[in-house]
Amino acid sequence: MTAGTMLRVEGLGRAFGGVYAVREVNLSVAEGETRAVIGPNGAGKSTLFNLISGHLTADQGSVHYRTGETLHPIDRLSAHSRARQGIAIVFQGARLFHGMTALENVMVGAHARTRHGFVAAALRLPRHHREEAAIRADALAALDRVGLKEWAHRSADVLPLGQQRALQVARALCARPRLLLLDEPASGLRAGEREALARLIESLRAEGLTMMLIEHDVAFVARLADRVTVLDLGEEIAEGTPEEIRGHDAVLAAYLGQESAA
């Protein structure tokens, strides 16, 4: 059944040098759901996100994504085409664009849903003026939402780590995504910044945005996620609500070692 499903991953596998980073992963994310993906280091969480966003191609299996009323396979689509379909990703490291202001960085995010190209820009066609004004307004709104409006015209290169992460989130929001992938957005943030991020994710959740979130902090996950998928050595070992996962034997074994769990 596909009704209400935003993303379905079937038998997804990807190996690097003969070692599987992701193997036979199956999962289904409902529209409006916040899905946490947890697991020890090297479990394949980021690889899974990159397979969904199109930055890596799968060796096996497929990714289906909702466009219109039904799910469609998106395996053959490039990363930028998937972005145009509404899949946005916030990377673990701060991947800002150097030599650009915070506002310009966020405006790049609007690429996913705007169209005018080199000819319209070079000739300053009306379409260019219309879209530019709308992109700027949306980018300012996205910056305001993550609390960075006063940084808009400053170079993104001088932002502290917390703000850099927030800027990436603003860039993703400027794309008006339908599925937002957040790869450890809270890592390295101070307590106040984590709280601000948690509140932002809560507000996006309240608006019905479908999100997937990689996170190590159990309390953070329990607060924000509807369901949790646990990966270990590239394989899915458990799925359930945060409460179900907390007492799951296989999860305890993966995190604490077989003997401790036993």
């Binding site: 966003s53 199109g54 930055h55 490039s78 990363a79 930028h80 972005a83 145009r84 946005a88 990703i89 990377f91 991947r95 800002l96 664009f97 150097h98 030599g99 650009m100 310009e104 960085n105 405006m107 790049v108 995010g109 609007a110 690429h111 996913a112 849903r113 705007t114 005018h116 190209g117 080199f118 820009a121 070079a122 000739l123 300053r124 260019h128 879209e131 530019e132 992109i135 860039r171 794309a175």
Partner: protein
């Protein structure tokens, strides 16, 4: 429906315009434009060819600066596209076709070749791309030098003067104005592109292709378009060059010319249009001065070589050491620091 301005609004618009005109930036632009337009009237006969060469270089370097400075893609073979433009114009003009058609076809031919060879070439990055573009020029020079229809090593002689709508570009100053017009178009296109949605996409992919892709930037297509666009600019300059000199030969487009374009872009300051113009001006004038000095009466026979290579090289090293970002960004930083009020003690 056209909006009618009230007298008060009109006064405000005029006030805005006047304020804009008084800004140092606008004044500088106007001064540069006025000087560029007046120079053909002022310069002596022997200086005019240097001015035309400078303008043609500036056209190529503006495109190269967009490719390298904004999109982060290196080309060590940009003289190839200058060559393709020149040969396209010369071939069309020497085959009894209208000369204006030759000039029109020159940028398109260069852009088309760039689009085709860019598909495999732009999969490479950094120094690999630099070497590949260099190899491209070496191959092209070899091919052009051996074909009968391109005139082999001798090239194509007797390219007729450019004629557009009955007007023949016969004098050096007419080519200076033609090159100025072409430069204005190229600068305008570049300015419009870099300060727009595709321009932001180019600057984004220069930092991180992965992050740019994730934001919806079609990285491969954008790299191809900017490569073709910058090649088209070089082709346009090449087209004008063919009509201006009246002949084209492989020897006019050595690999050193490609290096010179890169040096101009770097010295002027990558990632600024003014940097491209300043770099082309500074290097063209420097080379001309060194050449004049080396061949001056009373100079030893080794002077031309020492000045054109050793002194030129040392000057470039000094600029890169002390102004690593190039002339224009360094001047801009200096200006900003000068205007910033001193902090209170």
């Amino acid at each position: 429906m056209t909006q009618q301005l009230t007298p008060a609004q009109a006064r405000i618009s005029f006030a805005d315009l006047a304020a804009r005109l008084r800004s140092p930036r606008t004044l500088a632009v106007l001064a540069v434009c006025a000087t560029a337009l007046l120079l053909p009237q002022i310069l002596s006969g022997s200086d005019m060819p240097v001015y035309v060469t400078l303008l043609l270089s500036a056209i190529v370097v503006t495109g190269l600066s967009m490719l390298m400075g904004y999109a982060g893609q290196v080309s060590l073979g940009h003289a190839s596209f200058y060559l393709i433009g020149a040969y396209t114009a010369a071939l069309i003009a020497t085959h009894d076709k209208p000369t204006w058609l030759g000039l029109l076809a020159a940028p398109f031919a260069a852009a088309l070749v760039a689009a085709v060879i860019g598909i495999p070439l732009l999969r490479l990055r950094g120094h690999q791309l630099a070497f590949a573009t260099l190899a491209m020029q070496l191959i092209l020079l070899n091919v052009v030098g051996q074909q009968e229809w391109t005139g082999g090593d001798i090239g194509l002689q007797g390219v007729p003067r450019l004629t557009v709508a009955g007007y023949e570009f016969a004098t050096v100053s007419s080519y200076a104005y033609l090159a100025l017009g072409a430069l204005a178009v190229v600068v305008l296109i570049t300015r419009n592109v870099v300060a727009s949605r595709p321009g932001r996409g180019l600057r984004a992919l220069a930092t991180s292709e992965v992050a740019a892709e994730s934001a919806g930037v079609p990285v491969v297509a954008y790299k191809l378009v900017v490569f073709s666009l910058s090649a088209g600019f070089a082709g346009l300059a090449g087209g004008i060059y063919a009509f201006y000199t009246g002949y084209v030969a492989p020897g006019s487009f050595p690999v050193l010319l490609s290096f010179e374009f890169v040096v101009m872009a770097v010295i002027g300051g990558l990632g600024t249009i003014w940097g491209a113009l300043a770099g082309a001006t500074a290097i063209t004038l420097l080379l001309q001065q060194l050449n004049e000095l080396g061949t001056a009466e009373g100079m030893p026979s080794s002077a031309p070589v020492v000045l054109s290579y050793a002194v030129y090289g040392v000057l470039l090293v000094l600029v890169v050491l002390f102004l690593p970002r190039g002339l224009v960004p360094s001047a801009r930083d200096w200006w900003v620091r000068r205007r910033r009020p001193n902090p209170e003690p």
